[in-house]
Symmetry: C3
Subunit: 436 residues, 3 copies
């Protein structure tokens, strides 16, 4: 499939999961995983779905009750629907308890959330860990309401159910792992977060196509925060032993920017590798861990200490549409999704090729006799072999692919071919096979 | 007492010691220590006064003779006093030998020191280690002298006496020490150096008020250079074993600037800690060890290697009034002294709170259930807990308070409360108690 | 001899070797070494000449056949010489095989090399490792040729002979070594490379004049690349054990710039030392190893790992005359050569003086009693002893001469005298004699 065909496929898949009312738990999550599962099954891929009972203790947290939501609206006295969850899932505050009350406008306002600095949009608001109910609407809508009596109605329940997540592992020659994860708990916002799961699903297909892959790949779809904490509480030992690098995908569907959110100290191989690829983009933004906000928070927590970074197109919380009804299917595009997908494919290709090599001969090798260097020597005619010579100069066993890329200023994916040629000619050998 | 009341108290004390004719040794030093002693006794504090005999060898130096000065003036033929030490102690060169001679103007000029680039001021000049006599006056005064005969008169003596210094130690829970020192050898200049001793005296009172203090505090009042060398020759082993951080106070009475003079390599905890506090000032200056000039020279000498920095408001040698009669009581102020005092109090508070803490839970803790986090989640409403989250992110046992402050960009004294809250909630524990 | 006299002597010597037709091998190399040998013999210095047979394997390379060239020209039908090697050695491609053919203009052009972007100059072109023949001329000359028949004539042979290089070792108190090298394979270009061998020859005389020298000095004249590789194949163990720092001299005769080409990571003592001297020049250029091009490539190759940098006036490949007939005796000058020579003399002097010293007294020493400090203390009068005080502050046994120079901002050659004075006064002692 062409670049843009893959973008269109992802956009179409995002459109399918967009309407579902996702939250930390419940049928929205299960429905979303169902759609993704159908998509992957076409390629013979099947993930494992886990259900974690409400009340399970996970580190400092407790898995919350399951939220079931059926209906939510506000009516005026004339039975006109002011807002209705049928129109937009964001109208109901996430995890709202049920309500059925007639109230004055003043009383109503106590339960209505708006985004005053963006008066035209509906904000996304939740109350996962304290029971309350609430509605969200645009400031403009609220301002237009006349005095009168209003009917607040929510048909929901919080029950002892379970929290759902999914994982899929594709084994490689090494038991060392690459992890890519995204989350499935945001209702009806396109970039945050229909984009992450669909790019992740497409990447799973790509990794499967790498027949002779080196690393084992772990893919996880989970609710944000509590999902990642739960996942870590069950898999921390394994990840500490095996994880080489991980990426959290979030907001990967627009085409305004590319962004990395660094790990706690910004010094892991996940940081160096993804950064070396983003540096080649026309435009990209580099955020320190102080700007974190997604599940990289958990993977980098003290004591967890995993080499995981965040990857976005426009970073969450840095684009005005974030966490509002303006983050809709018009905000993302096949091109935006394809750009994120291509970046992750380059990253995976480079991780697969990443080793520390050392020259097998002393002094510069004679490339000319191997057909790798022009036989006539005249000034100005050496440009095309400069990258190879520079790779050779730093192939001293102390630098991996990304470090050589950084030193010599050539993108890592352009060095893969050079590395292959030198390997074929017996001029380099790997000094470190720490991942078998 | 209010901030400014303390400033006024220090200014008044400075005014009392200003008129005394201090030098490396002699009654000026003893009188100054007497006034400071009376001030501290009101709070039940008493320092120990040491007398070191002239001729005592201290490392590469020898304690000089004691200087006694009674009278010094120049008269013209008509018995008019051209200059008189009664008007300003700076008129006599420090450590002048006696003289009683009638001389021509030309001969007189051989013994007169002026500051040609500041013609209105009397310079401060000494000759501690070579016996000579001399007078100081303004260039304007010298230029106005007519031809004629002049009477140079100094009634002084250099005798086998002693050099005087004082120390006061306030023990804490730990035998590890914080040291603050200033010097008492400069005559009749307000910033350099009535300010240092009075701020130091006030700080002693503050430390005494810290009932449950962690560190032991060592306070030293000594003559500059030879005093610090003498002190080190007697206390080096103890300081090497116990000193955590030290500050030399000098020129802490004006209100133009705040300054740090770094240690030899600028990398001790004394550097990091004081710098983290000065960085929050509206204006401050950072000087490398190449700009040193006070007793930090001795504490940082090769082989001494103590973690000591210099702290000034306007740094010595960087303000035009320095070492002249223009450094008078108008140059310093209650506000200037109070600013220096407050800075040192913040520094002491932060040193007391400085530990490496590590989180006791894996992943982010659930702050909401402890009332430390809002229960409704909406974008833009997290600001007030960002500092706590960032503290948590770097509380991994490898960073002390000042390092976390540097990483997350929050002043260390603002982190003390956060640290306390987390400790009370059992979320952090100290990983290192290397100072008991 | 005065500075400029030495420059003139070097310029004259360069003029003697300029006309010889040097290449990797052959009589041009031997003749050049003969002239240099005569020059050195006048000072009782004699180098050893090595002949390495064609076909000798040296690491990844093989010593090529020896090239003998007697005559080379192109004639038109009227027997007018279009170009003739008698006029300029660059007219024949280096290592050309023999030819004697009558050809059309179109056929001729297949064998003619020009520098199209510099139409007035003859380029320097070689084909060492693939047998072919060729001629070089200016683009203007080529463009002016009319249609017609031309006679290409080269009388040369490639025979089983040998490659020639020379070395000279001057022992010092220590067996640890300083190496300086240049190359002797470029025909009839003045800066690249008559300048390197003549500055090297003059430096040998300078080092001989250092009667009590500390280090052993190794000087090598070799053909570029294959010569350095051959030299390393025979001396690598010795160099790895003994070499402290080395410099490759190339293009050291013009007066436009001073340049350093750093070692692989730019962090050896060779880098630090030469850089500390170049930093004092009015103008200098610092090149990373990515800009390498001369024999520093071999000395810094992975596994060779020797502390060697390149030193140039205008760096090869960075001046338009490079590798063309415009690099003639007018491009270099006595002043240019003398500037390079002086720089290397300073470098050698500083290397000889380079040690890590530590103060023998604690705290600052009393310089006054040793006559090293003014006895009257007044502000503004300390400037002249600041460098000595700063040297003392960092003479803590961890810094060598170049590191102290870097920290305190004083050129290393200005610190040698200070170091001597302190040594004479017993105030410092060397902490490390790792080079005996």
């Amino acid at each position: 499939m062409s670049h843009l065909d893959i973008g269109r496929e992802m956009y179409e898949l995002a459109g399918k999961i967009f309407p579902l009312c996702r939250s930390l738990t419940g049928e929205g999550v299960r429905g979303t995983l169902g759609i993704l599962s159908d998509f992957l099954k076409k390629d013979g891929l099947e993930f494992i779905i886990h259900e974690v009972p409400s009340g399970t203790e996970v580190f400092d947290w407790t898995v919350p009750k399951e939220w079931r939501i059926r209906e939510a609206y506000i009516e005026d006295d004339a039975k006109n629907k002011i807002i209705d969850m049928k129109d937009n899932n964001l109208h109901v505050m996430g995890y709202s308890t049920p309500v059925d009350r007639l109230v004055s406008l003043d009383e109503l306002k106590k339960y209505v959330y708006t985004q005053a600095d963006q008066p035209a949009v509906i904000p996304y608001v939740t109350s996962y860990y304290k029971e309350r109910y609430g509605f969200c609407m645009s400031q403009n809508c609220l301002d237009a309401l006349p005095e009168g009596r209003y009917h607040m109605y929510i048909d929901s329940e919080l029950t002892e159910g379970s929290m759902t997540y999914a994982e899929l592992i594709l084994p490689g020659k090494s038991s060392k792992e690459i992890m890519v994860t995204s989350y499935i708990c945001h209702p009806s916002m396109a970039n945050n977060e229909c984009s992450g799961p669909v790019v992740l699903a497409e990447l799973i297909k790509y990794v499967k196509s790498l027949g002779n892959r080196r690393y084992t790949y772990r893919f996880v779809f989970n609710p944000e925060t509590i999902g990642a904490i739960t996942y870590l509480s069950r898999n921390l030992e394994t990840l500490k032993e095996k994880l080489v690098a991980g990426v959290v995908l979030s907001c990967v569907g627009d085409d305004r920017d590319y962004s990395i959110i660094h790990s706690r100290y910004g010094n892991t191989i996940a940081d160096r590798s993804l950064l070396s690829i983003l540096k080649e983009k026309e435009k990209f933004s580099e955020y320190s861990f102080l700007d974190r906000g997604s599940d990289e928070r958990q993977y980098n927590a003290p004591g967890v200490d995993l080499p995981v970074v965040g990857f976005c197109r426009s970073k969450y919380n840095k684009y005005p549409e974030y966490h509002t009804s303006a983050d809709d299917m018009n905000f993302i595009s096949p091109e935006g999704l394809a750009g994120a997908y291509d970046t992750m494919v380059q990253w995976i290709d480079c991780m697969e090729a990443n080793e520390k090599y050392k020259m097998t001969v002393l002094c510069e090798p004679q490339l000319g006799k191997r057909g790798l260097y022009p036989t006539v020597s005249q000034k100005g005619f050496r440009g095309e072999v400069t990258a190879m010579f520079n790779y050779i100069a730093y192939a001293d066993g102390s630098n991996d692919l990304f470090e050589i890329s950084r030193i010599i200023g050539v993108p890592p994916y352009e060095l893969i071919g050079i590395q292959e040629k030198l390997k074929e000619n017996g001029l380099i050998k790997a000094v470190e096979v720490d991942d078998e």
